[in-house]
Symmetry: C2
Subunit: 419 residues, 2 copies
């Protein structure tokens, strides 16, 4: 670390709230990005193997141009008519199952989940929510209360279920039964279930794509208990899984979908798509206005992202390139330890190591080799690999090669020794 970066870290610690965290014991100061590449203040180039927000590539020229152009013309709010918010909302619903016909805009995924919860609470007259064991859905007070990964516990109206383990059909069925039981418990506790809220790839649970269909089986249970199914697509959406939406994998049609992260490629843009009838009870009681949500510049950014995804066939690319990534990672992992579990869907691959220390060592080893990734999941022992969707075969090979070397370096820690 240079004096400059160290000084910056000290100034940062002094002025930003102490709850802020940095990646890496020696933080990296990123100053420039282009496509899948990031550069630090010392001019070193990194392959970005982590950031799912800049999904169509860092500083994507189409998105930058759309933001710059619209910012120079008009940025205002949704209490005046503007064609872009209408066009963008229409384009979004066109990518969804037919029943999901109504859009509301926010600026963050946290706000999207918070709004979804308000809508569903008013639509069902109920307050109970079921989430997964290590779920993360956002940082508002209401959403933090159903995000156990924040370490603050959950509210009395929340029940937590364990995600499927090992990808078997039996585990998917067990998950659905647990959802049904949680709904019964909530009813018994005076909080009848309003919603099952699940990240469609269970990202903060360590990435759980399998078995195919388990979200549909769980959705059936929550509906038969009188609740609705909310698919949190903040992580999975916009092509990450090799499909436009993560829920498609499971053949489930959600009642409500929440969107965020890659939606504006880094521009603060998020939202809720839902069935009209679920939006009406809130509308009968109160208005909705989000000062920045759905503004023309945000919608221009969102439209540009949809344009690039379509033009460059990034959904198909994510599926194809994701297979290469998954296969590469599996091959490498099997050479170092046959027991290590690799889970992948599209351009999102998780490698479950023996411990948080092992994961942390691999994350550091990758960084030394010029590749940025991170760890997540229970105990922080799951490597999280999810490069921008514009990564190509050579980028995938570089990433897999760095993983190979970093796993080899683990030595005594052993990738699966402690599990």
């Amino acid at each position: 670390m240079t004096g400059g970066t160290g000084d910056l870290a000290a100034r940062r610690a002094a002025v930003l709230g102490p709850a802020y965290r940095l990646f890496y014991a020696e933080p990296v100061e990123i100053v420039r990005g282009e496509g899948v590449w990031l550069w630090d203040a010392q001019g070193r180039r990194y392959l970005d193997g982590y950031n799912n927000v800049a999904s169509v590539g860092h500083a994507n020229p189409t998105v930058v141009e759309a933001i710059s152009r619209q910012a120079g013309v008009l940025n205002t709010h949704t209490r005046y008519l503007h064609p872009l918010v209408v066009e963008y909302a229409e384009r979004l619903v066109a990518t969804m199952p037919a029943g999901l016909d109504t859009v509301m805009f926010t600026c963050t995924g946290s706000e999207a989940n918070d709004l979804a919860l308000r809508l569903v609470t008013m639509a069902t007259g109920r307050s109970g929510v079921i989430v997964t064991r290590t779920a993360y859905h956002g940082v508002t007070a209401a959403i933090a209360a159903l995000s156990p990964s924040l370490g603050l516990g959950v509210g009395p109206h929340v029940r937590v279920v364990d995600p499927p383990v090992g990808g078997t059909t039996a585990e998917g069925e067990r998950f659905a039964r647990d959802v049904a039981e949680a709904a019964d418990e909530l009813a018994g506790a005076g909080h009848p279930v309003a919603a099952l809220l699940v990240d469609s790839v269970l990202s903060s649970d360590g990435l759980v794509p399998d078995p195919v269909g388990f979200l549909e089986w769980a959705a059936r249970e929550v509906r038969s208990a009188g609740g609705v199914f909310i698919a949190d697509e903040v992580q999975a959406g916009f092509g990450r899984t090799g499909r436009m939406w993560g829920f498609e994998r499971h053949g489930v049609e959600p009642d409500v979908v929440t969107l965020g992260k890659p939606m504006g490629n880094g521009h603060p843009l998020a939202g809720v798509v839902l069935r009209r009838e679920l939006a009406e009870p809130m509308a009968a009681r109160t208005r909705y206005f989000n000062t920045f949500g759905g503004n023309p510049v945000s919608c221009a950014a969102g439209l540009a992202v949809l344009d690039v995804v379509a033009r460059d066939q990034l959904v198909e690319h994510s599926a194809r390139c994701g297979r290469r990534l998954s296969e590469g990672v599996r091959e490498v992992a099997s050479r170092h330890d046959g027991g290590v579990e690799v889970r992948g869907v599209g351009l999102y691959v998780a490698v479950e190591l023996a411990s948080g220390e092992a994961a942390s060592a691999v994350v550091d080893g990758m960084r030394e080799r010029g590749v940025l990734i991170a760890a997540t999941g229970p105990g922080g022992r799951v490597l999280k690999i999810r490069p921008p969707l514009v990564i190509d075969d050579s980028g995938v090979d570089l990433l897999v090669g760095a993983l190979d070397e970093s796993l080899a370096e683990l030595g005594g820690l052993g990738v699966n020794a402690g599990s």
Copy 2:
């Protein structure tokens, strides 16, 4: 209305959630902005007498350039080091009283108030909140529960106090006593007071700037009851009142300040500034991360706004030009009806009419004369006039002239007949 605009309104109603509202019975389609001017789809120009978000002017070239440049270089998150988030946070705290030394970034004012509430709840171990009668602080579930203007009632941990009426010292003292009583009530109800949360200009209560000092008297009461004072500067901040911060008028040093709206001149940027010790209890229990909050593009926008405010001396301009606006509106109002109440602070003027219908008629009359304003406050009978800070004397005179004609046109409705 042209067919185009009507068609757009119909498409909008079909795809956006039914809780969305539009200004005006015949909505206006705004397609371009520059400084204090807005243009509709038919090419008609309006003086913007309403929008406090584009505070340094619509499409301000300095802000647009900062956003475009940084978006083309890098947009990432706060888990990597970046100089702009540190520089911007330092610049913000330099504008505040010395004790307010710690910054946390969000994307919206709703998120800022939600985060402030989480911080304060964890710092005090208490949950009670005192707000004003027609307060609006945001749309998250937690903040909607203490925003009575949404029409949904308030939570059991919330008490509502009536704002001072008529600007007298006696009313300011009565307000402070009501805060003390509300704190007692909350303690008795098992929700000891964590915070008094007040918009520094009581915007949604119809704008209540006087008596000078009443927020300090109220803050003293809440502190002696063991709570803290949160100044919601989403409306008042960044020069609107002729001071940098609205709380300065009252000689009060808040424990927590929340920011939003004009902070990025329309770019989604908001945050919380607070005393370090109030941020630490949350940090001891959990992390804080907002994917888009404090990103380099948002910070570039925020820095550009601070630069323009300083370069063009907009705080001083707001004070001077605001006096001309207040005086002009008072003179016009007194000619039409001596009893009408005009309240003003900086470039924010409220005209209290006899009824919501009268206010609505004046808003429509102004629009016909090419000036956009809106109505707010209890019963929607308060005209809300708050042009971008870059309005000049001729803009003020145009606005006042249009108000004169619109009030004259009221005729039978009478500006104060029903009060």
